[in-house]
Each structure stands twice: as C-alpha cells, then as structure tokens.
Symmetry: C2
Subunit: 154 residues, 2 copies
Amino acid sequence: MTATAISKITDEAQIRKLIDNREKAVRARDVDGSVANVAEDILSFDVVNSLQQIGSDASKKRAEEWFASFEGPIGYETRDLSIIAGDNVAFAHGLSHVNATRTDGGQLDMWWRTTLCFRKISEKWVVTHEHNSVPFDVESGKASLELRPQEDSN
Amino acid sequence: MTATAISKITDEAQIRKLIDNREKAVRARDVDGSVANVAEDILSFDVVNSLQQIGSDASKKRAEEWFASFEGPIGYETRDLSIIAGDNVAFAHGLSHVNATRTDGGQLDMWWRTTLCFRKISEKWVVTHEHNSVPFDVESGKASLELRPQEDSN
C-alpha cells in the first residue's frame, strides 16, 4: 500500500471519528462537544430559517436552543454516511435522524439531509461548511418532515 | 509561488469555470450542458421532494422538468460563491437565485442554498454530490421561498 493510500484511509478514519463524537455529543446534550470541530468562521445552511448563519458562536447558540427544545435523551443517528477525503479538503454526506420528546410533549421523529465540508488546518480536520435540510412539497409549499429513507425509491 | 500553490489556483479556476458554464446552460435551457459535469453516480439532495436522488439520469430528468416549468428565458445566478479545492477533492457553496416566468404565468423569484462537492477523476473535476435547499419556518411548517440574502442578518 502506498503512503498516499494509507494517508487517505487515516484521513477518512479521522473524519468518521469526528462525526461519531459529534453524534455522541448530541445524544448527551453536550453543546460544546457538538461544535468541537466547527471552524470559527463556519458558513452554515440550516434546516430552519434563516438562509445562512456565519460563525461557530451561531452554531453553538443553535445547538443550545435545539437541545433545550427536547425533554430527556435525544435519539440521533446518521445513515448512509459517505466520506471522501483528499489531502487537505474533504466532504461527507448522509441522512440524519432525530427521535426525541419535545418539551411540549410531542414526539419529533424526523429525517433530514446532511452535507459536511472539511479542511485540514494545522493537521486537524475542521468543519468549515455545513448544509442541513429537508426538501419541500411543491403542491403544499410545506417542508417534508415525514420522509423516511426506506420510503424513498431510488 | 510553489507548484502546489499554482495547482490550487488552477483547480479553483477550473471549478469556477465549470460552475459558470453550468449557469450559462441553465439560462440557455440547455439540459445536457447543465449536467455536463455531473458524475454518473451523483447523490443529489434537491430543493423539492424526494429525500435524495441517485444518478445523472435523475439529475437530467429533474433539469428537463424544471426548465419545462418556465416560459422564455431563465434568469439564474449564484451569489457569495466560495470554492475550496484540494488535490483531488473540492467543494463549493453559494446562494442560487432564479428569476423566471412560470408556464402558469406566475413569476418565480427565489433564492436557495447550494453546496457542490467534487472529485477529480481522470484529471477532470466532476460533481459527485450536490445539495440544494431552502430552510423552513418552524411556526408555519412552510418552506421559506421568500428569503433574500440582503435581508438575512447573521
């Protein structure tokens, strides 16, 4: 195996670990952990308004508000995760799933699409761009919060 | 300037050109041109349902349907485009804008978020993953089709 091939595997493993840790942090309602690998100047496209947010402080505030909207543990996982890593640039995409009880007593069981873009800075992978979303239904104009990967025939 | 730095500039320029050509193709209602640099196994997260689409045939079908929903020329541009290119992996993000007359006579003037992820395969950059979306409004559950970048205070 060439040094390049080994390096590529190592980079992918580092990013997978980073995403794993992030998921664990969400499940544990650990705000700092959930944004630990986010770049200070991250540009985020979030599931909900507004159009975009800039900076890790905005990501942290968003995580705080999101976690606070749930009672008890947060079920959280990523499915179909694909990671493509180059020397200093990488991206990953997958389907994210949350299953948790809201503070109003309702259950949130929702899937959405996640794309994470990374740069390796000072030998450490950081998320410099993040895009999370659900699609919408053209007829109703409503966000599609009920879609399930298995119901999605492609 | 080092060879690496020159190569990085060249890669960014190639990707910028690719995105420029894609925009021109959309404006010209040129289906083939609009998907010319899409990988055969592209994974797309689109603005509208479903959750995900796989393959360049799906991208082409989507472009055909989208172009056919408009009368006359399609106004199309990308704002705040940022391109980060590594050796064989790259990503780009920006805000996309369409302004066109629908076949039902209505005007579509809409901004959305675009993330493009690239791999260099056989010395050619191709889009292997694409994520387009609008956020939604939590209160109404509606997709936010009226957002404007200038109204978006971070």
